[in-house]
């Protein structure tokens, strides 16, 4: 009984927090305190559920019946727990970071920002705990809508255009394809519950299943599988904390999480293996991995580069999901966690660089590492984890994905993973190298006009680019971003390191996903 209340509390806490944030909007300090407390409470609640799932119990709670026979239901299971745990944990870190960033950057409408953020987290946890596809879809759409004001936060013409792309693709794919796929599943099986082993086995066969799978995978636009990836670079117009938590963790991970859920609990790994209907999707995912990496190399804007890197990394998870192998699903699920820590670190660094030096383009960052050693050091750690080098977490998920590819005799995907790692090296490491080893570019150092980055327009405020501005933390001759920013990014970078050693525990926790498909 108490368990059910905790599950519901996990969904409601951020919402209540949002109301309190609205109520305390007049006093920024109080408002930020509310945000932090809410985030801490949320994480405590989610964390308290881990032992239950670890013990093999999957409690279910039904809130209400929405349509006859179809309710808003929450069920705990390992995959959802991992996603909820990451989202709620990183919310705390991001909140700390946001405080430094939003103030340092003197953004407008901060109350609205924190409210929408809280709603987004609530829906992310709702997605993580969803017990059936209907519930998941509901929270999926709430997540899209609640992040729209965050993406268009700046309110500029560019933000408006980005908002159109964002909403157009996410709503378009989810209503146009995903909803139809869900109703179709419902007519085929009469249920939408997530069941181990899937619900479609025996109810559908032939090419129809491939069509249905495609409708799901493309309909989940948040997974950013090409060609429905454009919204993610567009969303980079948002303030950096949004890009960091939502567009590297919560929103995009909600997408790939949904893909995994559908693969594991709607189709079932064995069923997909039997039909082999996922094969061409594997190639789509592999293609996205490589193409997005190549595009990332051409981007000079740091956030755009990271966005394409995210697109590429997301397809690792999709690949894991559609490989029809238990170990692949586990590897994909692990990658949700590993990539989250790595990528959020990189985004935090990008934001810190923006706040401290107003630089958005990679080409402007010559020698910047000498001024901001902590930030660039952490950027290196995040990059190494994304590339998949020990001793950082990213290595493990790539390992298991490669193992799955080898196990299903698809060595081509092993090759894809390796090439992708090399590409990651090619587009991430030069940033660090340039930061530390190139001499500072004199002409750029104090010119306030360079960089047509998205944040430039509205920040033509006094003190911008001025060394005495309050958005710079000066210590021992370094010019780092405010301490909350630097603290947060150092923390997540340390997380990448910790995950390297925690991988075994996560693997054991996720193993039930593999089901009958385990080696």
């Amino acid at each position: 009984m108490i368990l059910e209340q905790i599950i519901l509390a996990c969904i409601c806490t951020p919402l209540i927090g949002g109301i309190l944030i609205a109520a305390t909007g007049r006093s920024p300090n109080l408002r930020e305190t509310v945000t932090l407390i809410t985030a801490a409470v949320e994480f405590t609640l989610v964390a308290s559920l881990f032992p239950v799932v670890m013990a093999g119990e999957y409690p279910t709670v039904t809130v209400l019946e929405m349509l006859p026979g179809l309710g808003i239901t929450f069920t705990l299971e390992p995959l959802g727990m991992v996603f909820a745990g990451i989202a709620s944990f990183l919310w705390i870190v991001t909140s700390i970071y946001s405080i430094g960033y939003m103030r340092g950057h003197s953004e407008q409408n901060q109350t609205r920002f924190y409210i929408c953020f809280a709603i987004a987290i609530s829906s992310a946890v709702g997605i993580a705990f969803a017990g059936n596809m209907m519930t998941l879809f509901v929270f999926y759409e709430v997540l899209t809508l609640s992040t729209f004001p965050l993406v268009t936060h700046a309110g500029t013409e560019e933000a408006k255009r980005a908002g159109r792309v964002y909403l157009g693709i996410l709503i378009g794919t989810s209503i146009g394809l995903q909803l139809v796929a869900i109703v179709w599943t419902w007519t085929l099986t009469g249920t939408l519950d997530f069941k181990p082993g899937g619900i479609l086995a025996g109810k559908a066969d032939g090419p129809m299943v491939a069509v249905l799978l495609a409708m799901y995978v493309f309909g989940i636009g948040k997974a950013a599988l090409m060609p429905f990836h454009r919204w993610l670079p567009a969303a980079m117009v948002a303030p950096t904390p949004v890009s960091a938590l939502l567009h590297a963790v919560a929103v995009v991970k909600a997408g790939v999480f949904t893909v995994l859920k559908v693969a594991v609990y709607i189709f079932g790994i064995d069923f997909m293996h039997e039909l082999g209907s996922g094969i061409w999707l594997q190639y789509m995912a592999a293609g996205t991995i490589l193409i997005a990496s190549l595009v990332a190399m051409t981007k000079d804007n740091l956030k755009a580069r990271l966005a394409y890197s995210t697109i590429s990394q997301l397809s690792y998870v999709i690949l894991g999901g559609v490989m029809a192998s238990g170990i692949g699903a586990v590897g994909g699920a692990m990658h949700i966690a590993m990539h989250a820590f790595g990528k959020i670190t990189l985004f935090f660094c990008a934001g810190a660089i923006l706040v401290a030096s107003h630089k958005t383009e990679v080409s402007q960052m010559r020698g910047l590492g000498r001024k901001m050693p902590i930030t660039f050091g952490c950027f290196l750690i995040g990059s190494l984890s994304i590339i998949g080098l020990p001793p950082f977490g990213g290595v493990w998920s790539k390992w298991y994905l490669a193992l799955a590819a080898a196990e299903t005799d698809q060595l081509i995907f092993v090759a894809v993973l390796m090439i992708s790692s090399l590409l990651n090296v090619a587009y991430l490491i030069p940033i660090v190298v340039r930061g530390f080893f190139s001499p500072p570019d004199k002409s750029n150092a104090h010119s306030p006009h360079e960089g047509e980055g998205e944040h430039e327009v509205k920040h033509a405020s006094p003190g911008r680019g001025d060394a005495t501005a309050p958005n710079v933390w000066r210590v021992r001759g370094f010019e780092e971003a405010p301490i909350t920013c630097v603290g947060a990014l150092a923390f997540t970078a340390a997380g990448c390191f910790v995950l390297f050693f925690a991988a075994d525990a996560i693997y054991a926790f996720l193993l039930p996903l593999a089901g009958g498909g385990a080696p």
């Binding site: 209400l64 019946e65 929405m66 349509l67 006859p68 808003i72 879809f137 509901v138 759409e141 709430v142 809508l145 268009t152 309110g155 933000a159 408006k160 908002g163 159109r164 909403l167 157009g168 709503i171 378009g172 209503i175 146009g176 909803l179 139809v180 109703v183 179709w184 419902w186 007519t187």
Partner: protein
């Protein structure tokens, strides 16, 4: 005793109350009177629905003249449900009306306004409750004539043209309907709907009956504004006083849809005729065209009331599409959408009423930055717009879900795709407004100036209902499902 006579009281009360408005004359007094009557009507229709759900269909014979000779009021789940929709909208619109009407209509005509509103309510309830095809025509005319007057009261001079156009087309529609009824009477000698449905199979093969069906369908499709017979609707909605738009958009077309359901599923329910001359395929085709053209034209409108009017044409397409599936799920979808759309469109037009009240215009270019000036109203507009799109948790989602379900059940997946594609057009026309309202700077300051609470609260009630029935749709689906089963099951 009263419970027994409820069916007739449902009509008599608003009918008799209308002339009293003329006697009262004082603007405030007539408003209060109309308000009380509308709430009384709601109470009665709720009581009737409960009675029907508990004990089955009610038959009430006027003046104790037995049907089929006398006029029969026959209430089953479907029309009890539609009456609740109509009276509930009436009961929400009247509190809203006070401030809005005072702002938009000259004081010396306000009593006339409420007289006509009550007459219109009478007519709509009459169409719904009656079990007699000719009596239906009488009420159709009462509601139509009063709505012509109501529309012509709009402050813009174009309202007169719009009302005149509606008058011409509405009269054509009603005339077609009565011709159809006449032809049926020729062949069967009865006007009672239940009686007609039993006698129909025997004479169904005659050309007269086929002509009757054609006249009835076309006549009612004019009234419910099915593409391409919708030409009267956009201007009528755009230029009518705000209150009238809310009321008509949420009730009048819905009642006409109800009348069509009666003709197609009750009078002609037992005949295979519909398959022979393919009325259903025709309706389905037109419905799909309506879904797309309505939404597509809505995208280009600069007057937001007009935009919502075109959106209504599209939404009527969804209702007719659901009906044309001719399955329990499909008809359920149509009926549920009738209800859900009444709530959604009601709240959207109310938001426009508030905008009209505050800034005196509903043109897109005048609405820049309104999200800052009228935060509540605009939030309500966005909420209503999301329901038009069919976002989950809103009532519109339930309708879409059922429509897609009905299409997939039949294996008609292209139709399912068309439903979702057309609803994506709604994203475009809703978001056009959102962008102007939230992303542009307000021209004259950001001071918050909302409409009075008497307008805000009814609007929020409807928005709340839109989401309530989107989150817990079991009640509406249960009622609609029962109505659909009764329509299809009883006669097959």
């Amino acid at each position: 005793m009263i419970a027994h006579h409820l069916p007739i009281l449902q009509i008599i009360v608003p009918l008799m109350a209308a002339p009293i408005c003329v006697a009262l004359r004082h603007p405030r007094a007539t408003w209060l009177w109309a308000l009380i009557i509308s709430w009384l009507c709601l109470a009665m229709s709720v009581a009737l629905l409960q009675q029907v759900l508990a004990t089955g269909p009610i038959s009430y014979e006027l003046g104790d003249w037995a049907a089929p000779w006398g006029i029969e009021y026959r209430i089953d789940t479907l029309n009890a449900f539609v009456m609740v929709i109509v009276t509930a909208i009436g009961a929400t619109v009247l509190p809203f009306a006070k401030a809005s009407v005072e702002a938009e209509i000259p004081e010396d005509r306000i009593y006339l306004f409420y007289t006509m509103l009550l007459l219109c309510l009478t007519g709509l309830l009459g169409i719904t409750i009656t079990g007699d095809a000719f009596n239906l025509f009488v009420f159709l005319e009462i509601s139509s004539l009063s709505s012509y007057v109501l529309i012509s009261m709009g402050s813009d001079r174009q309202a007169l043209v719009a009302a005149y156009r509606y008058l011409i087309l509405g009269t054509v529609g009603a005339t077609f309907y009565i011709i159809g009824v006449g032809l049926m009477y020729m062949m069967t000698g009865t006007l009672n709907i239940a009686d007609l449905s039993t006698l129909m199979p025997a004479v169904a093969d005659t050309r007269t009956i086929q002509a009757a069906l054609a006249f009835l369908t076309v006549g009612l499709c004019v009234k419910l504004a099915l593409f391409p017979l919708h030409m009267w609707l956009p201007n009528a909605y755009a230029y009518a006083p705000s209150v009238v738009t809310v009321f008509l958009a949420a009730t009048a077309t819905k009642v006409a849809v109800y009348a069509l359901i009666r003709v197609v599923f009750t009078i002609f329910g037992g005949v295979a005729l519909l398959d022979v001359i393919q009325v259903r395929d025709l309706l389905m085709g037109l419905a799909i065209i309506a879904m797309f053209t309505g939404s597509a034209v809505a995208i280009y409108q600069l007057n937001i009331k007009r935009m919502l009017a075109y959106s209504s044409i599209a939404q009527i397409g969804y209702m007719i599409l659901g009906l044309s599936f001719d399955t329990v799920t499909g008809v359920t979808a149509g009926i549920v959408h009738l209800f859900n759309h009444a709530l959604t469109k009601g709240s959207l037009f109310m938001a426009m009423g508030c905008v009209m009240f505050v800034i005196g215009s509903v043109r897109l270019e005048d609405m820049s930055g309104l999200g800052k000036r009228m935060p509540i109203t605009m939030a309500a507009f966005v909420a209503g717009g999301l329901s038009l799109i069919g976002v989950p948790l809103s009532a519109g989602f339930i309708s879409k879900w059922y429509l897609i379900l009905a299409a997939l059940e039949q294996g008609w997946w292209p139709i399912a795709m068309l439903v979702v594609l057309s609803s994506l057009l709604a994203v475009i026309y809703v978001w056009r407004v959102v962008e102007v309202v939230y992303f542009r700077l307000p021209p004259d300051g950001v001071e918050i100036t909302e409409a009075p609470l008497s307008m805000i609260i009814p609007m929020l009630v409807l928005v709340g209902a839109t989401y309530y029935f989107g989150i817990d749709a079991t009640t509406t689906l249960d009622v609609a499902g029962r109505a659909a089963e009764a329509l299809l099951g009883g006669l097959k």
